[in-house]
């Protein structure tokens, strides 16, 4: 079954009323009729309307979305799965929310950089997207500030890695809780820096917020060793970093060497890295399909099955959405992101797990 949007939470009384009315609408749901009036009224799948799309840079836009029901909130730094109907087909993507949850107009925003053959990012840069109805999935992600704001913050962002941090800055400012903050942001060119004007304005208005822009096209990349120079008290700051994988890996090493792993919080939006995590590989038996496939120790089960011509369910392909799950009946699998081992008897995500010896799956 394809990926679904989030269910709208309804009060108990409303649920009883709906259930009663469904004696009239069966086998359809009340929703199916409400959608005739407005697709935003769907309660089985939360929807939103794209109100406005405005450019941030030459290749990046911010998309304002009005949710069908009052936004149930998110924590700044989290991401949202959104389903876009493009050329008749629903395409699901995860985007960091660049808005904070307390916007008075109830809107949420995502900020999207155009990629060369990105189906969704190119569509969002085109003319048809404004006014379109999208399906809103679950809010997820652990890249968030703690309940009580740390007294001193360090943000390290690169490229579109600014988006979750922008949500944090907006939230902190709205709550009037912006602490002593250093923000080192990298962009290839000065004009390519997303939110440059807003960050600059914040830095001019608020003395607690210190911004440094690194134009990597001219100055080269920041390396963790530069921290001593650019932010001498980095050891005393709670650090939130979002950017490409290699940058985050280098930072992790640096913090580990300094014995400060707890101070570092990272978020990467690239597909999970098939780095040094490997399983043993093995034979995969797809029970429902009646097919057996050999899989090495670095290939996710989903890819191995697809290579053998199977039509397996999938969604995000990065271990977020649980669309691809199947029951592991025999054997063990290893999570290629965390190295974690899972044994037979539970549902597993085929997109991030690889067999550890022979396995059988209810798929």
């Amino acid at each position: 079954m394809p990926e679904q949007g989030a269910r709208v939470h309804m009060p108990r009384l409303a649920r009883y009323v709906v259930r009663g009315l469904e004696y009239f609408t069966w086998p359809l749901e009340l929703d199916d009729y409400l959608e005739l009036i407005s697709p935003l009224w769907s309660t089985t799948e939360l929807r939103g309307r794209i109100e406005r799309i405005h450019p941030e840079t030459d290749d990046t836009v911010t998309v304002d979305i009005t949710p069908g029901f009052r936004w149930r909130g998110h924590r700044a730094g989290q991401y949202l799965r959104i389903g876009f109907d493009i050329a008749g087909k629903r395409q699901w993507r995860a985007y960091s929310l660049s808005s904070d949850a307390a916007r008075p107009d109830g809107q949420i925003t995502i900020t999207v950089k155009r990629t060369a053959d990105g189906v969704v990012s190119n569509w969002l840069h085109g003319p048809q997207a404004t006014g379109a109805i999208v399906t809103l999935g679950e809010v997820e992600g652990e890249f968030t500030l703690p309940e009580s704001t740390p007294p001193r913050l360090l943000f390290l962002t690169a490229g579109s890695g600014i988006t979750p941090v922008m949500a944090m800055l907006r939230g902190l400012r709205r709550a009037g809780e912006l602490p002593d903050t250093v923000h080192l942001h990298s962009a290839r060119t000065p004009t390519g820096a997303i939110f440059a004007a807003e960050l600059q304005a914040l830095a001019e208005r608020d003395p607690r917020y210190h911004l440094e822009l690194q134009v990597t096209g001219e100055q080269g990349r920041l390396s963790p060793a530069d921290l001593d120079d650019r932010c001498p008290d980095w050891r005393e700051r709670e650090c939130y970093a979002c950017g490409p994988g290699p940058m985050l890996d280098a930072l992790s090493d640096h913090y580990r060497a300094a014995g400060l792993v707890d101070r570092l919080h990272v978020e990467s939006f690239e597909h999970f890295v098939l780095g040094d995590r490997t399983g043993r590989g093995g034979q995969i038996r797809f029970i429902r399909a009646g097919t057996e496939v050999e899989c090495d120790g670095v290939t996710p089960i989903l890819l191995a099955g697809e290579a053998a011509g199977l039509d397996l369910p999938y969604g995000c392909r990065m271990g977020i959405c649980h669309t691809c799950t199947g029951r592991l009946v025999e054997g063990s699998v290893r999570d290629l992101r965390t190295g974690e081992l899972t044994h037979a008897g539970t549902e597993i995500r085929t997109c991030v797990n690889c067999p550890d010896g022979p396995v059988a799956l209810e798929l």
């Binding site: 079954m1 394809p2 009239f24 069966w26 086998p27 005739l36 050329a87 008749g88 087909k89």
Partner: protein, 384 residues
């Protein structure tokens, strides 16, 4: 004289290479359509679905005044049409997975349920799998006579078939219930090969569907019309279900039982290749000519041949590929079974009456497809 192979199939004169070449041509049609699916197709099915819901609401509203005769007539007709749309162009085709490519969980064969007695799960097995895989193979395709009718002279006669003209009419009137029971696979139950747990599950599912339908059409909506309108709304809903049943019966019986269609023995189809599979579908199905509105109301099963070649292709594309299928038939001197609705239904009824009695032989086949000369072309009633 009737014999075991009463009629020679056009398959016999084709070499294996020719059969595979024809198969490749059909594959190419399939791939071309699937590569071009897009917004237009999605808009089509969403529009038909919205139309059904609007008609359903409209008819239910009109029937609030069902105790007035004109309202009864109008409401019943609109509800009948809504139910026909829901079963034929929407339900049957969504359950085939024709719209699964959209990845919309609401218009998907895994989640869809329809306004009929047959539960979606059982239907997908008996129809999508059994009927569409073993189409017109005697002894394997359980839709060949639905295990209660003698529709092919190869089937041995039994005195019970003398009643066939009567229960044929009953089946037309209560088609949805016939289909629901048929999904249970009565023959397997009789033979004792049916898994009893599965049977219990299926009967419970039918019971649940029957219950919801009775509540909706014969209790909830009649009650909404008030004490004075209860009975008239109930009869209106009953009549609408009847209209839907008779219509779907007529369309479906025209799919495989007209004189032009071939049936096959298990031996003929053992070790069948992909190309031969296509040809069996081509020979075993028959089209109905009609206007675009006729095709929508029949779930595009007037393009039964195209549907059997490509059961998971969006139905709105069948009309578009029909000329290409005809062209293949013409070039390879193969039949393309088609005819007017009255003619197709007439030959089916004649067969049902004739085969109620012993004996009988297959009807003569029309031979290779010849494009009609202009005066035979039926103009659409309403061009849309």
């Amino acid at each position: 004289m009737p014999s075991e192979s009463m009629i020679e199939s056009p398959l016999a004169r084709l070499s294996p290479e020719e059969i595979e070449a024809i198969g490749a041509e059909f594959d190419a049609i399939h791939d071309e359509v699937f590569a071009s699916l897009g917004d237009k197709d999605a808009t089509y099915i969403r529009t038909v679905i919205a139309l059904h819901r609007q008609l359903a609401l409209l008819s239910r509203a009109i029937l609030l005044g069902s105790r007035y005769r004109p309202a009864w007539l109008l409401g019943t007709s609109v509800l009948g049409i809504a139910k026909i749309l829901e079963n034929m162009e929407i339900g049957h085709n969504v359950l085939h997975g024709q719209w699964d490519w959209m990845a919309d969980p609401k218009i998907n064969s895994a989640t869809w349920d329809w306004d009929t007695a047959s539960p979606a799960e059982a239907w997908k097995h008996s129809h999508n799998y059994v009927h569409h895989t073993f189409t017109n193979i005697r002894g394997k395709d359980k839709d060949l006579g639905y295990e209660i009718m003698r529709i092919d002279p190869h089937q041995p006669w039994h005195p019970v078939y003398l009643l066939q003209p009567v229960y044929n009419l009953l089946l037309a009137a209560f088609f949805e219930w016939g289909v629901a029971v048929h999904d249970l696979d009565v023959e397997a139950i009789r033979a004792g090969t049916k898994d009893m747990d599965e049977l219990r599950r299926q009967v419970r599912a039918i019971g649940h569907k029957a219950w919801r339908q009775v509540i909706k059409d014969y209790v909830a909506f009649p009650a909404l019309s008030g004490p004075r309108g209860f009975k008239t709304t109930l009869t209106a809903n009953f009549t609408a279900n009847l209209i839907r049943n008779v219509w779907s019966y007529a369309i479906i019986f025209c799919g495989h039982f007209p004189d032009q269609t071939y049936t096959f023995s298990e031996e003929e189809t053992a070790e069948e290749t992909r190309g031969a599979f296509y040809l069996r579908q081509l020979l075993g199905a028959a089209n109905i000519e009609g206007s675009p509105i006729f095709h929508v109301l029949s779930g595009n099963l007037g393009y039964q041949v195209e549907h059997h070649l490509f059961p998971d292709m969006p139905s709105s594309r069948y009309g578009q590929i029909a000329p290409k299928v005809k062209e293949i038939c013409e070039r390879h001197r193969l039949p393309y079974n088609t005819g007017r609705f009255s003619h197709q239904l007439g030959t089916v009824q004649r067969t049902i009456l004739r085969l109620a009695f012993p004996g009988g032989r297959p009807a003569p086949k029309p031979g290779p497809y010849v494009p009609p000369s202009d005066d035979r072309v039926t103009a659409p009633l309403i061009a849309v």
